[in-house]
Symmetry: C2
Subunit: 429 residues, 2 copies
């Protein structure tokens, strides 16, 4: 058997501890699968004294994470997090020295992936990030290898477990966003500063990575249109249910002749689609290819075990000598795709208005829609309360977003419309 | 760029034609992903004259498939089918000459996998079979690589699209097995001789392969307990629905301290489990690992496009130089696991009896259950028709199958029980 692969771990939070635990608990199994074992030669974390419940063996403690690149580790596992700072410094150092890097850091890859992939190629060092997207689901491998025969036409999914948990909870309990968020924070499902999750940034990082892998395009996080779930009201969830939909925060990427579409926002999806029934903290990703048709991958998107499972899967690939270019093809082969702005999105829309219940209101709204060639599919005004505000909900036929947006501006300006219109895109997946 | 990888295709049915089509249509994409193209150097099929709608270019026609091993192809794609005969001969020949083999042939791998893997190792030639299990779903890769960090504890799934299509149809239309089978045959979803599919043999082939990959055990098809869907009656599907279940033909493999459990049979699964809502010709596989928890993979299990997608994914791995031992670890490292016989299965059961509606019948049945320590969970006797036969349906608490079976023998012998008892295992997945 070959010598053990020497690894160093930067960051000993739950995922770091989970990674060490797998390397310990499943050592023999891994050695059989790889033809070689793993040796933990160095670690770096903020607090040396904390008990993490795992055996660090005789791994050297290195205070400055970036200096892990100077140890005899052949692969550095970066679990520090953050798109810049020590994580970026460590990864740059490690790759520059020809060491492999395994990371769970989506922000880092979304922002600096191209630079780092170039560095990896130059130094013939693997750079892998299965754990950065959808935790335990081996979606990076599926897109890069399992579906490699296909021209991927679309990739989309539930990429943020916190949002999915909150939306599931809001639907089940009818409670409002703020209440559910507080509870999610208390349970540890949401961070103290939840904005990365609930505002869609985390999902956007992951989507930018998936898009690059799927389409062979240069990672372009800045081109992702991002909206979060804060504006979702329990009443929208109720109407969605009534109309046959579930509300999910989806990341959707599509490459067409018009260019690259990348967007993260709440969607109404038909209840019968597989993704509609993915509840709680689960993630799910759908990959569509020209030959394979539709494939769905579902599992835990976060947590020590699943994320560490993905980290170690990358290590196993490296130990087995199976490495690929970071984004599946060499950086020089990645294409620049023109971003398709969100106002070119074509599809159906759900719109909720608060209007004064008086004659002629619906006619005024209908006239606004007509002016922008938006065709109404259905309209519901259930409550009656003359001269008071009542909700009016409507769905449209497929229309380009620019027209919808213009119609909503006009509708929002009507005297009888007393709140800004709420709009949720309907995705026929 | 490296020279193109020379491939030969044996069998030009739908999957063979689909494979050639991918190599043609996506040639540039594949070349970018692999750093090299593919050249089709030889083909073999029964009928030279048939138009298969694909461009075979200047590939040499070889009448004797086994002789493809003597061409200058570096990889032979075996799509002939059948566990023995020309398929086996070709694969043996190709591996003996150090050529790689890609196959979609589950029967071949289930029956001769160990012999062929040994031959592959001896000649340092890759032998791959992603297309043999669950068509377009990259489940072999997921188990062998994506979940490689985990001790897999259980793997199960809907492995036969024909059965799943038929069960979905029976549920939706209330029609009987024979009627649905005839229609499935007319539509091309079932073979003229449907027994491989409907009797569970095809699913058992796939399960034996998945078990070996998951647990690192020697493929042992003969140890799979196999039952098909012929005995499923529409009335059972109705009762299942009422009790909160769907009936699915599942393959289930589990490795415990008692040994290796491998079984294919109709199951009642709770409607809320992801697998319950997988309908029609779709396949789904669930892998459970000690760190990753539960992961679900869903997609098309058959058809030209999806199966060819899996064939070419294997080719891509080979072209990229990423090869692994056939069953993930070397043959010498595969373990012999003691088979756990079906009568040791522990779980709940659904039982349907036809009984004469007369006083004391239920007491007699209850006495039989008591004699074998089977605990009843629920009993339904809806129809009343004194001195006529009426259905009685019951579910049990968890019990060992040997006890259940003995109780059913005793119940079947009661004078008032006028048909052999029907039993379906309830799986709490």
């Amino acid at each position: 058997m070959t010598e053990p692969l020497k690894v160093a771990v930067a960051g000993l939070g739950t995922v770091g501890a989970g990674t060490v635990k797998i390397l310990r608990d499943n050592h023999d199994l891994l050695a059989a699968r790889c033809g070689r074992g793993f040796a933990l030669v160095a670690v770096s974390a903020r607090d040396r004294t904390r008990d993490r419940g795992v055996d660090l063996g005789d791994a050297a403690w290195i205070d400055n994470a970036a200096a892990l690149a100077d140890t005899d580790a052949e692969v550095v596992i970066e679990l520090i997090g953050g798109s810049d700072g020590p994580a970026l410094e460590l990864v740059r150092n490690a790759l520059s020295r020809g060491k492999g890097v395994v990371t769970a850091n989506k922000a880092l890859i979304a922002h600096h992936g191209l630079e780092l992939a170039t560095l990896a190629e130059k130094n013939d060092a693997p750079l892998t990030f299965e754990a950065a997207v959808a935790g335990g689901i081996p979606i990076v491998k599926a897109l890069r290898e399992g579906l490699a025969a296909n021209r991927i036409t679309r990739v989309y999914g539930i990429l943020n477990g916190t949002c999915n948990y909150m939306l599931s909870d809001m639907r089940e309990t009818g409670r409002a966003f703020d209440t559910v968020l507080e509870e999610a924070q208390a349970l540890g499902y949401a961070e103290a500063d939840p904005s990365f999750d609930v505002d869609g940034v985390d999902a956007a990082h992951k989507l930018a990575i998936l898009a690059s892998l799927s389409f062979g395009t240069r990672v372009s996080f800045d081109a992702v249109h991002v909206e979060g779930i804060r504006p979702i009201d329990p009443v929208d969830i109720e109407y969605a249910d009534e109309l046959g939909y579930r509300i999910k925060l989806l990341g959707i990427a599509r490459l067409t002749d018009d260019g690259l579409e990348q967007r993260v926002h709440p969607c109404m999806v038909p209840k019968a689609t597989p993704i509609a029934s993915v509840e709680g903290v689960l993630n799910a990703v759908v990959g569509e290819g020209d030959f394979v048709d539709t494939t769905v991958y579902e599992g835990r998107g976060a947590g020590a075990g699943p994320t560490a499972s993905a980290v170690v899967a990358d290590l196993v690939d490296i130990a087995r000598g199976n490495s690929l270019p970071t984004f599946s093809v060499p950086v020089s082969a990645l294409r620049d795709a023109k971003p398709v702005p969100i106002d070119q999105r074509a599809g159906a829309y759900y719109v909720r208005l608060m209007v004064m219940d008086r004659p002629g209101v619906i006619a005024d709204i209908a006239a606004c829609l007509r002016d922008h060639a938006v065709s109404m599919e259905a309209l519901v005004q259930r409550a009656r309360a003359p001269e008071e505000a009542v909700p009016v909900v409507m769905t449209t036929h497929d229309v380009v977003e620019a027209s919808m947006a213009a119609a909503l501006v006009q509708i929002g300006g009507l005297e009888s419309v007393v709140e800004p219109p709420r709009m949720i895109r309907i995705e026929s997946l």
